[in-house]
């Protein structure tokens, strides 16, 4: 047992129960369906903006890109222009590939000692695969959810739904992205629980978002395939949220508590986002180890907010103390005579 994941796990269960009991038993549908989601969105937007602006204000006095290839030097040494970019265009390519394919995770290696004591470094791709599956499934689910927030539903979203339901099994048809999302997030969480070295460096704020997102996916899957909910009523509520014209209370009361659990999880995720490691969504674009050119040797970088520093040079020092230095027998650059001649 480990308090870090047990507390995160319990927190997620308690959150669900709060929303479920709050709507099914206490009847707080307006609170969980309208007020909390708005408050969460507000916290997200303002919190995200403030966090990014605080980064924008912080100093980047020197270029600190990490390089993974040969820097541009002599004409006959081939530079690695993407992993060690010297132009803005190459930086853009590097950033794009990093964001879209997680190249730095792909480099993940695992150190192992062999029986004869030799050390090997092996490529360890499961983290990369799990992260890719997770992020792409999450993005697809998110885009598909726009059907609840748009009327009429635009064609591209319908197209994604059709593709996502490509294998047409089950009724309602099974969306692959939802299943992949739940599986990937479960893998990423269990990885932190079962691999001892990873567990050692995992904190409650690593486990909590994983459990929370698993909770979202789990309640979503329950709603769609097992404990059916009133989709038309839900869309009336979600459209009400984005057009500020809400359906009657009867419609809200008719929606299952499971939905309010799902929505409350999402609200908690939104409100938690700006204060958590999930801010890497914005941070990846601003990482100075990735988004700067490595032209540190080709060009001199002067810190732009350097102010003129008042210095006292040796020459000035000697001017101040020349006589005393000569008296004490110390060597001087300019003799007393030369200094006197200059003065005239």
């Amino acid at each position: 047992m480990n308090v870090k994941y047990m507390y995160s796990f319990l927190a997620v269960i308690v959150l669900f129960l709060i929303a479920y009991v709050g709507t099914e038993a206490v009847g707080l549908q307006w609170l969980f369906g309208v007020l909390i989601p708005y408050a969460a969105l507000l916290v997200f937007v303002i919190g995200f903006g403030r966090r990014v602006m605080s980064w924008a204000r912080s100093a980047v006095p020197f270029r600190i890109p990490t390089t993974c290839g040969q820097q541009k030097t002599l004409p006959w040494i081939r530079p690695n222009s993407i992993d060690n970019p010297t132009t803005t265009g190459a930086v853009a390519v590097r950033m794009f590939l990093e964001i879209v394919t997680f190249r730095s995770l792909f480099r993940n290696t695992r150190m192992k000692a062999k029986a004869d004591g030799r050390i090997t470094y092996q490529l360890e791709l499961f983290l990369w695969l799990g992260a890719l599956a997770f992020h792409y499934a999450f993005a697809t689910v998110l885009v598909r959810h726009l059907r609840f927030f748009m009327e009429p539903v635009p064609v591209p979203i319908k197209l994604i739904e059709t593709l996502d339901a490509f294998f047409q099994f089950g009724l309602p048809v099974v969306y692959l992205s939802g299943v992949v999302l739940a599986a990937a997030v479960l893998y990423l969480a269990l990885r932190r629980v079962f691999i001892p070295t990873v567990r050692y460096i995992s904190l409650a704020n690593d486990f909590f978002p994983l459990f929370l997102i698993f909770g979202i996916a789990f309640t979503g899957i329950l709603m769609r395939y097992f404990a059916k909910v009133d989709i038309v009523g839900i869309k009336a509520l979600t459209m009400g949220l984005v057009t500020f014209s809400f359906p009657e209370s009867e419609v809200l009361k008719g929606i299952s508590g499971l939905f309010y659990g799902h929505l409350f999880f999402v609200s908690v995720l939104l409100a938690y986002f700006p204060f958590s490691k999930l801010m890497h969504l914005g941070g990846i674009f601003l990482s100075p180890t990735r988004n700067l050119t490595t032209d540190t040797r080709a060009r001199r970088h002067v810190n732009p907010w350097n102010y003129p520093v008042k210095v006292h040079t040796y020459e000035e020092y000697e001017d101040d103390f020349r006589e005393k230095m000569v008296e004490a027998g110390l060597p001087v650059v300019k003799s007393l005579e030369a200094a006197a001649a200059e003065k005239e």
């Binding site: 937007v45 989709i231 009523g233 057009t243």
Partner: protein, 130 residues
Amino acid sequence: MNDKGKIVAGLVIFLVMVTFPFWYNLGKAAPAPEIVLSAQAKAAGACVLPKAEIKTEHMQLLDVWRDTVVREGQRVYVNAEGKKFDMSLSNTCLDCHSNRKEFCDRCHTYASVDPYCYDCHIEDPKENDQ
């Protein structure tokens, strides 16, 4: 380095994306669809399952019907009230709900579901008999 301008521009783009549904629906009313019960359905008075159940679980019922007919060759369904139904999409559901456009489709367009059943199943088999 001072890229505040670029960062603010990126941030504004992101925040507009996040709030996109608000802009997209601006000034539009999006009422839930009005579904029309056909004369046959009105006459029958009740669906195969109680209203709350058929509303959310009809696709699962259809799935059970499909498997029972195609895999077990059994075609009669008896509901909780003891009423018998021929397990058929076209001959039962769409016979009673003969107005698919104003009934099934209105709901489905709103919820953005597009059942692929009609690739094969025709709406009213009797139309093609002549």
